[in-house]
């Protein structure tokens, strides 16, 4: 079941706590089958994660 009313419709790149829930231990964005987000939400999430990475709020990679 997809989270249709999920709160991730609006996600901010500064909200690291929320973003981290959707990252795996290596700092990669989890696939949709794991996040259970709608396609639109997943795109918003990806955008926010990439912005946060650029601003060094979250790492690009965790080894």
């Amino acid at each position: 079941m997809k989270e249709s009313l999920n709160p991730i419709q609006r996600i901010d790149y500064k909200d690291i706590e929320t973003l981290k829930k959707f990252l795996n231990p290596h700092g990669k964005i989890m696939p949709r089958r794991r996040t259970m987000l709608t396609a639109a939400s997943q795109r918003n999430l990806a955008e926010a994660v990439k912005r946060a990475r650029f601003m060094a709020l979250i790492p690009y990679i965790v080894r």
Binding site: P7, E47, A56
Partner: protein
């Protein structure tokens, strides 16, 4: 890393809605100021950025706070590359006409005190986490579900007579 290209204003799909009279698009600048700046000089830099915005309507303004960066940010300095492991991170949200944006970005790029910035189009409303994101995997959450502590049954006080009576009843 295509850092420079990413800093260019990234379009956000949501159209900026405006409850108030101002129909100008809303933008947000997130920026890192170099950590070599003294604590009391930070406000002066913020004032510079605000001044740069001209007649923009400022919606939210967060004073930069020193934070540890997730990775070392490098940039070419005088002679050798400058490396920073921490910076003052602040952001400012404002509404301004589209044609001023290029000019603002140019000025921002020219500021040596700004280590890195991100200029994005956004919405006027605060993007706050409404409720806890639904998370289906418990593997990464790491919180172990504890068994509720068994409530100990308290033995009710029983008098000798009653005890004897009940024993008799069982035996009989």
């Amino acid at each position: 890393m295509a850092d420079e290209s990413r800093s260019a204003q990234a379009e956000q799909s949501q159209a900026s809605s405006t409850p108030s009279g101002d129909s100008r698009p809303v933008y947000e600048i997130g920026y890192h100021l170099v950590p070599t700046l003294a604590e009391d000089k930070v406000q002066a830099e913020v004032a510079k950025i605000r001044k740069m915005l001209g007649n923009a309507e400022i919606i939210t303004d967060e004073t930069p706070r020193k934070m540890t960066l997730s990775y070392v940010v490098e940039r070419p300095g005088a002679g050798r590359r400058e490396k920073y492991g921490e910076a003052y991170f602040g952001f400012i949200k404002f509404a301004i006409d589209k044609e001023h944006i290029n000019e603002i970005e140019q000025k921002l790029r020219a500021m040596r005190e700004v280590l890195r910035y991100l200029l994005i189009q956004t919405v006027r409303e605060e993007i706050a986490p409404t409720r806890r994101a639904v998370f289906t995997s418990d593997r990464l959450e790491g919180e172990t579900i504890k068994k509720p502590a068994a409530v100990e049954e308290k033995a009710a006080e029983v008098s000798e007579e009653e005890l004897d009576k009940s024993i008799d009843a069982i035996v009989a």
